[in-house]
């Protein structure tokens, strides 16, 4: 049974088993590699996407759970990579290995959408589910504060 949803602003219909986690639909069916596999258990946050604007772990959402919803991935966070969090991440030179950062950015973007100028505690609470093995947390905090001061990008 094909499942339809809106992916990065585009209507998309996928005909694979509806139990397949959204993460693997994105990566192996739709060839969107920005969303990362880290744990497969909702423990690391590397696979974070937005489902109707809410940050979720795509490894825990079966494809059928996305039916009729809006899915935004790192590739669709902004049209040209200029979402405030993306600009702030570059300016603060946040990444080390970079593997977790797409997930970090998606969670941070969802935080700023609901809490435009978060405190350190609000950042810590929102970002707790996103592991960074290289431990760039100091810069992640700084970049989110920075992003809160930037004008919104094209999207």
């Amino acid at each position: 049974m094909p499942v339809s949803f809106t992916l990065n602003g585009k209507r998309t219909t996928i005909d694979v088993t509806p139990k397949m986690p959204l993460l693997w639909v994105l990566r192996d069916v739709l060839d969107l590699k920005g969303t990362k596999y880290g744990c497969g258990a909702g423990l690391c946050g590397a696979c974070t996407v937005h489902l109707d604007g809410v940050a979720v772990r795509s490894c825990q959402i079966p494809l059928e759970g996305a039916a009729g919803k809006r899915v935004t991935t790192i590739e669709g966070l902004s049209v040209d990579g200029t979402h405030p969090v993306q600009r702030a991440w570059e300016a603060a030179d946040v990444p080390q290995c970079g593997y977790c950062q797409a997930g970090q950015l998606m969670t941070a973007a969802a935080l700023l959408a609901s809490t435009p100028t978060p405190t350190d505690d609000e950042i810590d609470e929102a970002m707790e589910g996103n592991l960074c093995r290289c431990a760039t947390y100091t810069r992640i905090r700084a970049a989110i504060h920075q992003a809160a001061t930037l004008p919104k990008g094209a999207r």
Partner: protein, 729 residues
């Protein structure tokens, strides 16, 4: 010299690299007309300049998050005298004949390549200068370079490097060893904060990592090995698995006995990785578990205690008379220290993509040491090294794990047997349960201080793992391990027991455990002597001097004093009024050519929740920090990495298999627990720059434990802290 790369090949390569060029718009190019576009100035393996002034710098080493893909090209760009924003960085293929060593390990790249990368840039610059001088008919000594351009002030002429490319390629190549290098005061790239070259791609989610590779026609693979290390497949119910949705192939792979090579297992190939992994859940295998099934962490601890009670197998060092010194000491302390096995848990699990066609093997691998992978694949598949092509992808975390290439040889063997290209990806459980672990260790110490509060005796019986009397990988200790050569009576002995569990290097190998032991026990002795722990350490280091043995430099006491004094001042040690319930702990350690001292400020709640309020780090990595932005990031990450290890990480073995499987039982520190203040300061010494991937980690573990003692009076002699009833708050 002529172009080594033909135009078509060049276009192909640059198209792959993408990225585009950012040439300063302020500059109107001097006429490059008449120069054929095919001209490429390629004075060495690291630089390509085309007639349109596209400047490509090749980064040869694996990028694992240490920032080398940015910092090595910075060295080239500095001496080439080009604006950093005007160049494109390209990742090299694995090709040691062309590039020399290509390894990410041991924090060695900066000390090994600081000069050679600068020389590579300077050689090119020298040839461009010569080309300009010849073109204009002026003395070379009157020409200067700046921002990718040669100028002759006298005649007010200037040419961009691209316009000189064809001519430069015909100039004699100067000797790299004698070519003139910049005076550091003229640096415009080295020592400036340069963001990572892949940052734009990372924040846009572009495919960069091994796990992102796609090869036409490939299948996705999982590989089920025996949960007991070294176990082999007896039978597997393959037909049942083959019938499952999405599964295309399932077969047994025969392996050998080398734990770092190809091991026996079952490969399942499907049209998505999820389908392959789902099918694995239905797989039934009968294993021959082998002798390691008898091993366990509790068994190791019991054997260690038995070995410690007996006579040590080896004496690695004996200075003075420890027995007499202990007898005569005013205070003695005896303590047993231990620490567990640790996994690496890189966030990108082990993976590799391979294609085997007509005896030729093509590999896309996130590896820290692709060349050793090439040898392993060649040996295992029965091909020659020259038949193997290895693409070096960006690596989603190394920490020493990917110095081993077991996943690479698995992908190659599976692809060969399947007859189709294969992307092998390990699950998180595979990753944690088939690692090369930081070995556990057991130390049985005695120490003594005299009536003046001076350390006079130190004895350590280190019980570790090994075959015969030798140590297994990374489970060793050196005969000059601190405080050897700093006290008159020092004895270091060792005993080993058989293991069967694969071990390997984990970030700051050896040091990440030995610093915990030495700097914690030193703290015990300082308190026994009723001395300030930091001053006690300064007194132990003694006057600034280089400590040598047999003509070899062992330790620079002056450099360590420098960082210890720095961190004393910056942390407010002994001078700052601490909030109630807060305490400071200090530790230092020398490793990977770097001298680091660290102070941790912590508080402990009634339910033993430990909060780290701040960490002060002073490091000495020589006279020049190549990229200060990345340097601070590396140090802050090392600190939190060390805190993660100390607080909750432990791999336990039961029945020859690992019990942990994911981030719930092998926790990494999360952002709320990460200290808000991590102060990083570099002390400079007049020695060549050294690496920063590792040396900042070791001191933070004992500094934390010593801070906990300062607050609670509880001495931490065994890690992780969760074992002692503490947790991270």
């Amino acid at each position: 010299m002529t172009a080594a790369l033909d135009r078509r090949e060049f276009l192909k390569v640059t198209a792959l690299v993408g990225g585009g060029l950012a040439i300063g718009s302020w500059w109107q190019p001097v006429d490059a007309a008449g120069l054929p576009l095919a001209d490429v100035f390629e004075p060495n393996a690291f630089i390509r300049i085309t007639a349109d002034s596209a400047i490509t710098i090749v980064s040869k080493n694996p990028e694992i998050g240490q920032g080398i893909k940015t910092s090595l090209p910075m060295l080239v760009a500095e001496e080439l005298d080009v604006a950093w924003t005007s160049i494109t960085v390209e990742q090299a293929m694995s090709d040691p004949a062309r590039y020399g060593s290509q390894v990410a390990g041991g924090s060695t790249a900066t000390p090994a390549h600081y000069d050679s990368m600068r020389q590579a840039g300077a050689v090119a610059r020298q040839m461009l200068l010569a080309a300009a001088a010849a073109t204009w008919g002026v003395p070379e000594s009157e020409c200067t370079t700046k921002d990718g351009m040669v100028r002759h002030t006298g005649s007010k002429r200037a040419m961009r490097y691209g316009a000189l490319a064809a001519k430069a390629a015909t100039m004699p190549v100067p000797d790299a060893k004698t070519v003139r290098l910049k005076d550091p005061k003229d640096f415009t790239v080295i020592g400036t904060a340069v963001p990572g070259v892949d940052n734009p791609a990372i924040v846009r989610g572009k495919p960069l990592f091994g796990i992102d590779v796609t090869v036409p026609g490939m299948l996705y693979a999982v590989y089920q090995k025996c949960p007991v290390f070294g176990g082999t497949v007896v039978t597997a119910d393959l037909d049942a698995v083959r019938a499952l949705p999405g599964v295309k192939q399932a077969f047994v792979v025969n392996g050998g006995t080398n734990l770092a090579g190809l091991l026996s297992g079952v490969a399942i190939l499907a049209d998505s990785w999820w389908a392959a992994d789902e099918a694995r859940k239905q797989l039934k295998v009968t294993w021959a578990e082998g002798p390691t099934a008898a091993q366990s962490s509790t068994g190791f601890a019991a054997q260690a205690a038995t070995l410690a009670a007996g006579t040590a197998q080896r004496t690695l060092r004996q200075d003075g008379d420890v027995g007499a010194a202990l007898t005569g000491a005013a205070q003695t302390v005896e303590a047993a220290y231990s620490y567990p096995f640790l996994a690496h848990a890189t966030l990108e699990p082990m993976n590799c993509t391979a294609r085997v066609v007509d005896g030729k093997v093509e590999i896309w691998a996130p590896s820290q040491n692709p060349q050793s992978g090439r040898q392993l694949v060649a040996q295992t598949l029965g091909v020659t090294a020259a038949d193997i092509t290895i693409h070096m992808t960006r690596v989603g975390g190394g920490f020493g794990r990917r110095l081993n290439n077991d996943y690479m040889v698995e992908a190659a063997a599976i692809a060969k047997q399947a007859g189709v290209p294969v992307k092998l990806l390990w699950s998180r459980a595979d990753d944690i349960q088939h690692d090369f672990y930081r070995p556990a260790g057991f130390h049985f110490l005695k120490g003594g201080v005299d009536a003046a509060g001076k350390l006079v005796a130190w004895q350590n019986h280190f019980v570790s793992f090994g075959e015969g009397q030798g140590f297994v990988a990374s489970a060793n200790i050196g005969a000059t391990e601190f405080p050897a050569l700093f006290i008159p009576n020092y004895r270091l002995q060792s005993s080993v027991m058989p293991l069967g569990v694969p071990t390997g290097f984990l970030r700051a190998p050896g040091s990440n455990a030995l610093a915990f032991v030495a700097q914690s026990f030193l703290d015990e002795l300082a308190h026994a002597a009723k001395r300030d722990p930091l001053q006690f350490r300064l007194d132990l280091l003694g006057p600034p001097r280089v400590v040598e043995e047999n003509g070899r430099t062992i330790y620079d006491a002056g450099r360590m004093r420098g960082v210890l004094e720095s961190v004393r001042q910056r942390s407010g040690w002994g001078t700052r009024a601490l909030p109630a319930g807060h305490g400071l702990g200090v530790a230092f350690h020398f490793s990977h050519r770097g001298y680091f001292a660290e102070v941790v400020e912590a508080s402990v709640s009634a339910d033993r929740g430990v909060r780290v309020h701040g960490v002060w780090v002073a490091g000495d990595i020589g006279r020049q920090v190549v990229n200060p932005s990345n340097a601070v990031n590396q140090v802050q990450g090392s600190v939190i990495d060390g805190l993660s290890e100390a607080f909750g990480q432990e791999i336990t073995v039961v029945g020859g298999r690992v019990q942990q499987s994911n981030f719930d039982d092998f926790p990494l520190m999360r952002i709320p627990q990460a200290p808000k203040v991590i102060d990083v300061h570099f002390v400079t010494s007049d020695v060549g720059p050294t690496g920063l991937g590792e040396p900042a980690l070791p001191p933070v573990v004992p500094a934390l434990c010593n801070a906990i003692f300062a607050v609670t009076g509880t001495r931490i002699r065994s890690l992780p802290l969760t074992r002692q009833g503490f947790h991270s708050a």
